[in-house]
């Protein structure tokens, strides 16, 4: 009998991916809605389905382009599933994939699009932080996510004993991978140690290069049943498991979260993630870890048991260990939010899928298990494990 924890395992798959370019912020030639439509049409074309067949829409982080309006614009035949993930900014990215997977796994819908668009013209600057900075923070000049993540990272370094080199290694790996990705904003702009070490502080202990960017653009993935995905054009990236949430005393607490230096992937959530996928953390071949900032991404890898805590994190988090094709744990193989571009993390979803397809520009040979981690140190965090057909 299938464990109750595994009802989702293998039931849904990503069958199509699509993206606009990552435009420099403020330079998109079109508004966000147009970009969403372009991304969805690209994802449907990639899958080989008619966009009129889309019957569900999921987004996160209060995307301005409501699913019903997107569906109306596309002239879809029917909308059967419409979901916005509450809270957590980029922490909702994998939760959105999971919501789509749940919809198709339970027969609520068949072709569900997960999407996210950002443009400075429509969303303004720093749209990722809107609504999360009440006066108990902003009265003290704490206005942006980087300052919150800096506070948490500082304690992780100073009390938790994680060396700053772990943060730099993650950044270096992102830039390294971006050099193979012509679509990345950092393509052709490699980063050396001196440039990293000499760049300006944003909010200590985070420097400029520890921070993701803001870009204009949109991306989408098409989630359908595993059965249907097998008949479509692309190699399916099967959803093995998904988890989302916040642990005890997590979020909306003006920096009183109990596990303060955690990324938010609390032990029960992590256990459900591995149990649901039927794998151990050691079986993960490649990770796309949301890096709003380098420190929280390192915390995510520690939370999920992929990287040891404390000083040991420095020995594990080295450039050779983190890069494809041969690293022990290749991360952010398209460059990630830091070096590919920032569309609230949706780009990480596409790259997690490419690794299962075998089409990444920094392919991990024979990758069967591809992990997506969303939104560290955000009010909500989420994760999805993708697997190849061989894992089913």
């Amino acid at each position: 009998m299938v464990s109750r924890d595994r009802v989702l395992r293998g039931a849904a798959a990503v069958a199509g991916i699509g993206s606009t370019p990552f435009y420099k912020r403020g330079t998109s030639p079109h508004g966000a809605m147009r970009l969403v439509l372009e991304a969805i049409l690209a994802a449907c074309a990639d899958a080989g389905i008619d966009a009129h067949e889309v019957d569900g829409f999921v987004s996160y982080a209060n995307d301005l382009n409501e699913g019903l309006a997107v569906g109306a614009a596309l002239g879809v035949r029917e909308i059967r599933w419409s979901t916005m993930v509450w809270g957590g900014g980029g922490g909702g990215v994998a939760a959105a994939v999971n919501a789509a997977a749940v919809a198709v796994a339970t027969g609520q819908a068949e072709n569900v699009i997960v999407y996210r668009a950002l443009t400075e013209a429509d969303d303004g600057r720093q749209s990722y932080g809107k609504g999360h900075f009440p006066s108990l923070l902003s009265a003290h000049g704490i206005l942006t996510p980087v300052q919150i993540c800096a506070l948490r990272t500082q304690r992780m370094l100073e009390v938790g004993g994680v060396p700053p080199s772990a943060l730099e290694a993650l950044v270096q790996a992102s830039y390294h991978h971006a050099q193979q990705n012509p679509d990345a904003v950092a393509y052709g702009r490699p980063l050396d140690h001196d440039t990293y070490a000499d760049c300006r502080w944003v909010s200590e202990p985070l420097r400029l290069f520890d921070c993701s960017r803001e870009n204009d653009g949109a991306a989408a993935v098409l989630v359908t049943t595993a059965e249907r995905a097998r008949d479509l054009r692309a190699v399916p990236a099967h959803v093995l498991s998904g988890a989302q949430g916040g642990g005890p005393d997590w979020s909306e607490s003006a920096e009183n979260d109990t596990a303060y230096t955690s990324a938010g992937f609390h032990p029960a959530l992590v256990a459900r993630l591995w149990e649901g996928a039927g794998i151990k953390p050691g079986e993960v071949d490649v990770v796309q870890v949301y890096e709003n900032f380098s420190g929280p991404a390192v915390a995510s890898l520690i939370d999920t048991g992929l990287c040891p805590p404390g000083e040991e994190a420095g020995r594990f988090m080295t450039l050779p260990n983190l890069v494809a094709p041969k690293g022990a744990l290749p991360v952010n193989t398209a460059g990630g939010n830091i070096a590919e571009g920032f569309l609230h993390g949706i780009g990480l979803v596409l790259e997690a899928v490419r690794q299962i397809r075998g089409t990444s520009v920094n392919q991990v040979p024979g990758a069967d298990v591809s992990l997506l981690l969303g939104g560290p140190m955000a009010p909500l965090v989420s994760a999805t494990v993708f697997g190849s057909a061989a894992t089913l």
Binding site: Q126, S138, H140, G141, L151, S203
Partner: protein, 262 residues
Amino acid sequence: MAEGGVLMGDSADGGTGLVVVGAVPAELVAVVERHGQVVAAGDNAATLADMRSDRIGQLIGSTRLPGSLVSSSLFRLEAQPDGLVAAWIRYTAADGSTTVLRSRWIRLDEGWRVTQVRNVPEIPPVMPAAGPQDSGLDDPHWEGLRAGELRIQRCARCAHWIWAPRPVCPRCHSFDLEWPVVEAAGTIYSWTRTWQPFAPELSGHVPFTVVLAELPAAGQRRLLGVLCDGGDADVRVGQAVKGEIGPPPTDGGWPVLRWRLA
């Protein structure tokens, strides 16, 4: 002046009132004096040319100066342990008011450049957002600050300390919540020094340090606040801090809690 073109402190440069501390390259005096002059003259192109090119945006947003400057006066140069040289320049405005900026200079291949700059003395940013939230949940906290007291939410039934304020006790689900006055003292749980002027109100106040202090008097609940004089401070987790509540701003705004190393 010492041999090799290095000014040796502590010396005053004959008659100009310039105090030099430590080994400061002599060539820098003219560079910095000229910088003060172009800033005072409102010569933006020349001002920007003196700034380190990879951080011009951060630097120009870091300070606040009156619009109508009439003169500048370099009055202190100090060699610093990290190899930079700090320069204090007093700017005088048309109305006679003065503003002091402390710039820190680095020698790059292209010449001496400003790599950091700030208004001195350090004044914590005053944010318009200070005050109760629309929900009213934290009203007693802010009213307490106005009365010069630190009030934190606590459950009247089970004595659980609650922060951020909530409409119900998350432990026993009582709606009977109280706001006792607590001693504003604790230890630093974490901290960050912010250099980027994220909003116009931060210009003239960066870098500033915010600490998250843990309060023994409130069940180890943690409260944020700017650390007074924290811009240059050697801050560490675990240091003791004392709270300070300033007088209410005269414009009807709200006072805020600040921390100071104890």
